[in-house]
């Protein structure tokens, strides 16, 4: 759905106003929503903003035009127009060009420092069992099955003391 205001960008802000008891639906892009003070200007710009401004600041459009992922066939030009990548490999294929898009979209950050799949290697089977029991307990309580809940609670307590 296109923005009703500029009719160019994708509408990402959907709102319903109530004016004198009458309903008004509006669909705006981030930028137009900010202009109308419906949403606050967000710190980092949206992917559309980034890609648009990125286009303008590049005199090497032709160079970038050649970039294409051999795995999925996504070209940088196509990515630029739709804002979505084609496959994990694109992150390497589009390398530098994508890095600067990411840097701007992520407020200057370019390096992940959070969780990684390696952490799953040491998943504790006891921990997994505990999670399962906790969930079953919540559901038993919700279903008012207090007999089962008491049993599950006992088993959880046993695990704690082990």
């Amino acid at each position: 759905m296109r923005c009703q205001n500029c009719k160019k960008q994708t509408a990402t802000v959907h709102l319903t106003d109530l004016l004198k008891g009458e309903k008004h639906e509006r669909h705006l892009c981030e930028e137009c929503a900010v202009k109308e003070k419906i949403t606050a200007k967000t710190h980092p710009p949206s992917i559309n903003d980034v890609l648009n401004s990125f286009l303008m600041s590049q005199s090497v459009v032709k160079e970038l035009g050649k970039l294409k992922c051999p795995d999925c066939g996504m070209s940088f030009v196509e990515f630029r127009s739709q804002g979505l990548l084609g496959c994990p490999n694109d992150y390497d294929v589009f390398d530098q060009a994508l890095s600067s898009v990411i840097e701007r979209a992520q407020d200057g950050e370019t390096q992940h420092i959070g969780k990684s799949p390696g952490e799953s290697a040491d998943i504790d089977p006891i921990q997994r069992e505990r999670l399962k029991l906790q969930r079953e307990l919540r559901e038993a309580v919700k279903a008012e099955n207090y007999e089962l809940a008491a049993e599950l609670r006992d088993r959880l307590e046993e695990m704690h003391s082990e």
Binding site: R26, H43, C72, G73, Q106, Q111, G114
Partner: protein, 356 residues
């Protein structure tokens, strides 16, 4: 547990309670993940998209996320069922309106939802009532870790978890806290909220237009960046700074209002109740707007005979798909307005103190 059972319950996350429940409606955490060996959805063939759904479905099933969990094949669901799930925040609008093989696994208490083939192959969502990000994070982190023992997610040394849109890359973590801020709106101090959030790279969204009477006074605070901070760091900007200060501003504004303009507050609140108790046809937007005022009255104990849980229930139960499910048939706009007003009158009638 099936979809039709949903309309008779309220979803644990919408029950009353949790920290700051006078101001914070709910906390939500979402993780975006993609399978390593498949293209993202924009380049996945119909066959690949189906394979992705099967693979993730099998992985999720093998992880056993609770006995009462159930799967909804969104591709085979009718529009009413899809709308019902959107109204309960169990799938996104985008997921409802998407195409091809896709579905959602929902835990029996509706606090966990795993959306398959939304914008990414997998979106894990955990919901909690009130402000409860620690608990939400602990659950979603466990679910993610357990799933990782069953499937390989696309991960990059530099960019972290890879996502279809680069705005989600890194942690893939999106935190949203839903707030009810009627007093800050009433006293025109909502700017305070934007200021509190801005320095922490958080975005505030309100579903209203400037200079008009808004629907609701509901605001959502969420993080805008997903890369370069640990999950704990992202969470702590909400927990330690932004949410407590917004809550404090709202609570202070409420106290000032009660002290300085008690009649104006009561007028709003009781008018809202009067409309809800007497309307014979009412739109869902107007209901939201009136429930917002009534909620403020209940929280501030200006209205004592209605429980907050009734209001929370009405938020969900008065939406279009819920009404049509309850009546068991398609209703046009006018019929829905009448059904909605009937339902509200009935529900509030039952909440009334009896005469004896």
């Amino acid at each position: 547990m099936t979809l039709d059972d949903l309309i008779n319950s309220c979803g644990e996350w919408l029950a009353v309670g949790g920290q700051f429940s006078d101001v914070v409606i709910s906390s939500r955490i979402r993780l975006a993940r993609n399978l390593k060996k498949y293209p993202f959805l924009s380049k996945a063939s119909t066959k690949q998209q189906t394979e992705i759904e099967h693979k993730l479905f099998d992985a999720i099933t093998s992880c056993n996320f609770g006995k009462n969990a159930f799967y909804v094949d969104i591709n085979k669901s009718d529009s009413l069922d899809r709308q019902l799930l959107v109204e309960r925040h169990l799938i996104s609008k985008q997921h409802a309106e998407g195409q091809g093989s896709r579905g959602v696994m929902i835990s029996g208490n509706e606090t966990l939802a795993l959306m398959i083939n939304e914008e990414d192959h997998l979106r894990i969502q955990v919901l909690r009532r009130g402000m409860n990000l620690d608990d939400a994070w602990s659950e979603i982190n466990q679910v993610d870790t357990i799933l990782e023992s069953a499937v390989d997610f696309a991960y990059h040394k530099q960019f972290g978890y890879l996502t279809a849109c680069p705005t989600n890359v890194g942690t893939g973590l999106r935190v949203s806290v839903m707030l009810h801020l009627p007093a800050l709106r009433f006293t025109n101090e909502i700017e305070k909220v934007f200021r509190a959030a801005k320095d922490m790279k958080l975005a505030v969204r309100g579903l209203y237009g400037e200079g008009t009477d808004a629907i609701g006074d509901f605001f959502q605070v969420s993080n805008q960046t997903t890369l370069g901070q640990t999950e704990e760091e992202i969470l702590s900007s909400f927990k330690a700074v932004v949410i407590p200060s917004i809550v404090k501003y709202e609570q202070e504004a409420r106290q000032v209002l009660i002290k300085e303009k008690p009649a104006a507050v009561d007028d709003k609140v009781w008018r809202a109740l009067g409309m809800l108790e007497n309307a014979r046809a009412i739109s869902s937007e107007e209901v939201l707007f009136l429930l917002s005022h009534l909620r403020m009255g209940v929280v501030l104990e200006r209205v004592k005979h209605i429980d907050l849980s009734v209001i929370n229930e009405l938020f969900i139960a008065t939406q279009s798909a819920h009404l049509q499910k309850r009546y068991g048939k398609k209703l046009d706009g006018e019929e829905r307005s009448i059904a909605r007003a009937d339902y509200i009158r009935d529900r509030l009638g039952r909440a009334k103190p009896s005469d004896n």
